[in-house]
């Protein structure tokens, strides 16, 4: 049974914080906003919205795109490190909200920016092992819960969003071999402390610039392909500078590298599926590389193939 991605939908809250309004506060200019970090506005959820609410709204958008029969969903997985609460898990709350059948398995995965790619592998493996045919993979990690407004390293960058991917036995894209990795000795470089996010920007940049290009080259080769065979590269949208650096190190033409976060920011595990939702509509995108990297420090990559 070949499982893969049948459809994707996302939800980005309407509320925005403008980085142009914070130029004096952080001593930055338009060039830094537009060409360096590449985030003009960050999306922020309402105070009343919870993580499960963001997922629910992404699911509502999925229903608009597909003739989805709720009764046929056999697995529900949520990737998040900022749940509604510690207990219960978000997937349990969401299962009830969506009125899914009691036979539907539900669990959460605690990962950050690598979470979507990890999640694809996990949900597909779980479904295959248990003979399941339709699963929902959600991502929602609203960092507005943990970002300090006066922290230049994080508040200009991170936005709130959610996504849902319908994984089924009638896929538009199937996944190739995956690559995973962790540098746990550097896990403290991106962490929450007393409820507030801390990021060592230089350490994260060095990790991404040194590790991701090597991993991309490796996973393309392990799937029997060459860089020239890839129609689109969809990297976790860490920042424009990180994406540009990875692209330059891979010597890939910029028009093959997706970049899309000017209007809403780095949405952690949702950044890849939000872009995939658009890129999977492009008929010429037969083979796409996806790669997530960040908290952990961890990374995961694979190739999507029609």
């Amino acid at each position: 049974m070949a499982l893969g991605i049948e459809n994707i939908a996302s939800y980005i809250p309407e509320k925005r914080i403008s980085n142009y309004d914070r130029k004096a506060l952080f001593d930055i200019d338009d060039d830094f906003i537009e060409n360096r970090i590449g985030v003009k506005f960050v999306a922020v959820k309402d105070d009343t919205e919870e993580t499960s609410d963001l997922c629910f709204k992404a699911f509502e958008n999925l229903k608009l795109k597909t003739a989805l029969d709720i009764e046929q969903i056999d697995a529900l997985v949520v990737v998040s490190q900022n749940p509604d609460s510690n207990i219960p898990h978000v997937s349990g709350v969401l299962h009830g909200r969506l009125d899914l059948p009691e036979t539907c398995a539900s669990f959460d995965i605690s990962l950050g920016c690598s979470g979507y790619v990890y999640g694809l592998s996990i949900i597909q493996s779980f479904m295959k092992e248990n003979g399941l045919k339709r699963g929902l993979l959600f991502t929602a990690d609203p960092y507005s819960k943990v970002v300090s407004p006066d922290d230049k390293n994080t508040s200009l960058l991170f936005g709130d969003a959610a996504s849902v991917t319908l994984v089924s036995d009638t896929p538009l894209y199937r996944t190739g071999k995956f690559s995973f990795g962790t540098i746990g000795k550097q896990s403290q470089e991106l962490r929450c402390e007393n409820g507030k996010l801390f990021m060592n920007g230089r350490a994260i940049f060095n990790f991404a610039a040194k590790g991701v290009p090597k991993d991309i080259i490796k996973i393309i080769a392990e799937n029997g392909l060459e860089i020239a065979d890839i129609d689109k590269f969809v990297f976790h949208q860490g920042s424009k500078y990180i994406i540009d650096t990875i692209g330059a190190r891979l010597k890939v033409s910029p028009d093959k590298i997706a970049y899309d976060i000017y209007d809403y920011g780095n949405t952690i595990s949702s950044s890849i599926p939000i872009i995939l939702e658009k890129e999977m509509e492009v008929p010429t995108n037969n083979k796409m590389v996806i790669s997530g990297f960040g908290v952990g420090l961890s990374w995961a990559s694979t190739v999507l193939m029609k």
């Binding site: 920007g201 230089r202 610039a209 040194k210 500078y241 650096t245």
Partner: protein
């Protein structure tokens, strides 16, 4: 092997740090020519990789000019 100012200028060009190295005097602060925090990360990663040295954050704060970087690398290598 010791390095000189021209070597560092070459690295600034190759690292795509985002500044025009041809108009910078060796003793001028690079920040005055537009080297921002992201350009600094890229430049010093490039230097670390090419010279096999680790440059701690605290040291980077002191490396303001091309002359500063030349002296630092020659002392570390």
């Amino acid at each position: 092997m010791s390095i000189n100012a021209d070597s560092i200028k070459g690295m600034i060009r190759d690292s795509a740090a985002g500044i025009n190295v041809d108009v910078i005097k060796d003793d001028e602060p690079l920040s005055e020519h537009g080297l921002d925090s992201l350009g600094i990360m890229n430049l010093f990663l490039y230097i670390e990789e090419n010279h096999g040295i680790a440059i701690p954050d605290d040291d980077i704060d002191r490396l303001q000019s091309i002359n500063d970087i030349v002296a630092y690398i020659n002392q570390k290598s």
